[in-house]
């Protein structure tokens, strides 16, 4: 078992009377991790501590074995940060900016220039990299932000709302880029985001922080795993739907209607034969009603469910 990449133990940060982080204890493994939590839950404070921008009041955190407080220099080389806010001077070009950032990370001038060029290619900026960034679209700006985070070859990339301001096509591109970075470039990624659907797509595990404490840390598969409910969508009018539901109920199945979808409960502990029986009943009832089968699947958990109960 590889040791976790990031380890936090009783990490606490107070600002006067306000406790931003309250004895946060969490292990984050290598790979792509989603960081979720309400606004003000402590995510930004946690990130700032990892970046060395803020000192914890108490507790420890270590990245790849290096303590965040005592080995600041080592940490700086290991972490890349893509902030949520705008940070691109409009009069500079992307090439200049990323090169400068590389030099701020201590890379010698020639290496800085080469790495900047490489990294800009990886994020998909070509001739536009020589133009002043003031004229860049949001998508291009986000790519530059990602490039400067990568240029010094960190081990952990921290991304804060990376798809901010992007339209749907831009989002897809950015998510694909992040996935590539995590899978192909051999880097671990910590993505802080409010867009749970996006995290479901790219994250391998989720860390949920609430009021400065860890509430849940689990693989995405567990959180979005199958439930015991079968979702059926039919191509049918209201009357046919009712007939379908009645037909299933008459076969002894627990069934209910949720807007246009029919939900059938699969009993706990049902063996494969019983499960197959339920599916076949659905099939036959649909044929009997002359409806079409548009969708048949187990309902899955959603990351949103982590928040739903609390919002009620």
């Amino acid at each position: 078992m590889t040791p976790p990449l990031l380890v936090a133990r009783d990490l606490t940060r107070r600002y006067g009377a306000v406790t931003a982080l309250d004895a946060l204890t969490v292990d984050v493994d290598a790979g792509i991790t989603g960081l979720v939590g309400a606004n003000g839950a402590g995510k930004s404070t946690f990130i700032k501590i990892l970046l060395g921008l803020v000192e914890p009041t108490s507790g420890t955190a270590a990245l790849a074995g290096h303590d965040v407080c005592t080995e600041r220099d080592a940490i700086r080389a290991l972490v890349g940060y893509m902030p949520e806010h705008d940070c691109l001077p409009p009069e500079m070009s992307a090439a200049e900016f990323v090169t400068f950032m590389a030099r701020c990370s201590g890379l010698p001038a020639n290496a800085a220039r080469e790495r900047a060029a490489e990294v800009l290619r990886h994020v998909g900026l070509f001739e536009e990299r020589y133009r002043p960034m003031g004229g860049y679209s949001t998508g291009m700006g986000q790519r530059v932000k990602l490039a400067q985070a990568l240029v010094h070859d960190p081990r952990l990339l921290i991304l804060d709302e990376p798809t901010n301001g992007l339209d749907p096509a831009g989002r897809d591109d950015m998510l694909a880029l992040i996935e590539r970075t995590g899978r192909e470039f051999g880097m671990s990624v910590l993505v802080s985001s409010h867009l749970l659907g996006e995290l479901e797509r790219i994250a391998e595990r989720i860390v949920l922080i609430e009021a400065g404490r860890l509430v849940r840390a689990a693989p995405v598969g567990v959180l979005t795993g199958e439930t015991g409910t079968l979702v059926v969508e039919l191509d049918a009018d209201a009357a046919t739907l009712d007939a379908f539901v009645t037909g299933l109920a008459s076969r002894g199945l627990a069934v209910r209607l949720d807007r246009q979808r029919v939900l059938v409960d699969i009993p706990d502990g049902a063996d494969p034969a019983q499960v197959a029986h339920v599916h076949d009943a659905v099939r036959d009832a649909a044929v009997a009603c002359e409806a079409g089968l548009l969708r048949l699947e187990r309902r899955r958990g959603h990351l949103e469910d982590l928040f739903a109960s609390a919002a009620a």
């Binding site: 700086r76 940060y81 705008d86 009069e91 200049e96 030099r103 701020c104 201590g106 470039f185 051999g186």
Partner: protein
């Protein structure tokens, strides 16, 4: 047929295993980038306009004086202090225009947080910016005086004799340029770091120098504060008086009331610049990211 000379190169992501110069490299990069910003190098013409304007305009009187002096066959004296005195305001203008580019801009575009996650501490950032400002200002303040110095030696009928006679002037030339650059850079950097809006920073720098001049004049004329004291309180006046003293020149006012001794000027100006530097560091330590 397989062609052994055909290859597809792996253009995938590569790790960086090379040297990392750490804070040292970052500091140097910041200073160099700062100096380039001070002169508008690598920027469109607009960014160069103030530096170029100041350099040209401050050099012109020196050039004119040298031309007249050479025409007069070396008889006309070359007055360093009197020539440099009016240029001081232009140097302030230079500081007021460029300090915001050095300090306010990074705050405005929120680049500072990014730098701080790298091998740059707040203290190092402040020092690098100040060093870049000081270096550039030193060059600009030195230029007219150096021109006079080199010119005076060159136009003399016997340059070597002239050098032997007045070569020592290089000392005061360097000293004055250093003091001017130190004070203006320190004060304008500190003021510019207070705000992210460049226009406000420029106005603040010009405003502070003008207001201090006005107050000291008021204190001098209305409250009867002695000339010697006001010469120390107002940095522009201090630099002006110091210039005259360094090059052995005087004005009527100075003949009537002798100014304080030179070392006192040095102490006051060094302290003022240091106060500016300290203010800069203090401000950057506290700025919220």
């Amino acid at each position: 047929m397989s062609d052994p000379t055909a290859t597809i190169h792996d253009l995938g992501y590569r790790r960086y295993e090379g040297p990392r110069d750490g804070a040292r490299g970052a500091f140097d990069a910041l200073v160099w980038q700062g100096i380039r910003t001070m002169f508008g190098i690598g920027r469109p013409f607009k960014a160069k306009s103030v530096p170029v304007f100041v350099i040209v305009v401050t050099m012109l009187p020196a050039l004119a004086t040298l031309t007249a002096a050479s025409a007069s066959g070396g008889q006309m004296p070359v007055p360093y202090g009197i020539l440099i005195a009016p240029q001081l305001l232009l140097f302030v203008l230079y500081g007021a225009a460029q300090a915001p580019e050095m300090l306010s801009r990074d705050q405005q575009h929120r680049v500072l947080p990014l730098m701080l996650t790298r091998d740059v501490t707040r203290g190092q950032y402040a020092s690098a910016r100040l060093l870049a400002m000081f270096t550039a200002m030193f060059v600009v303040c030195l230029a007219p005086l150096l021109l006079l110095y080199i010119g005076e030696i060159s136009i003399a009928k016997q340059p070597t004799a002239a050098f032997a006679r007045m070569g020592g002037k290089i000392g005061p030339v360097l000293l004055h340029a250093t003091m001017t650059a130190w004070v203006i850079a320190g004060v304008s950097a500190a003021l510019a770091s207070l705000t992210a809006r460049r226009a406000y920073a420029t106005a603040a720098v010009i405003g502070v120098f003008l207001v201090v001049a006005a107050i000291t004049t008021g204190l001098n004329e209305l409250a009867g504060l002695p000339d010697g004291v006001t010469a120390l309180l107002d940095p522009i006046q201090a630099l002006r008086t110091m210039a005259l003293m360094l090059f052995g020149e005087t004005t009527r006012g100075m003949e009537l009331t002798p100014p304080p001794p030179l070392p006192l000027f040095l102490v006051v100006l060094v302290a003022l610049g240091a106060a500016g530097a300290a203010g800069l560091v203090w401000r950057l330590r506290r700025v919220d990211l």
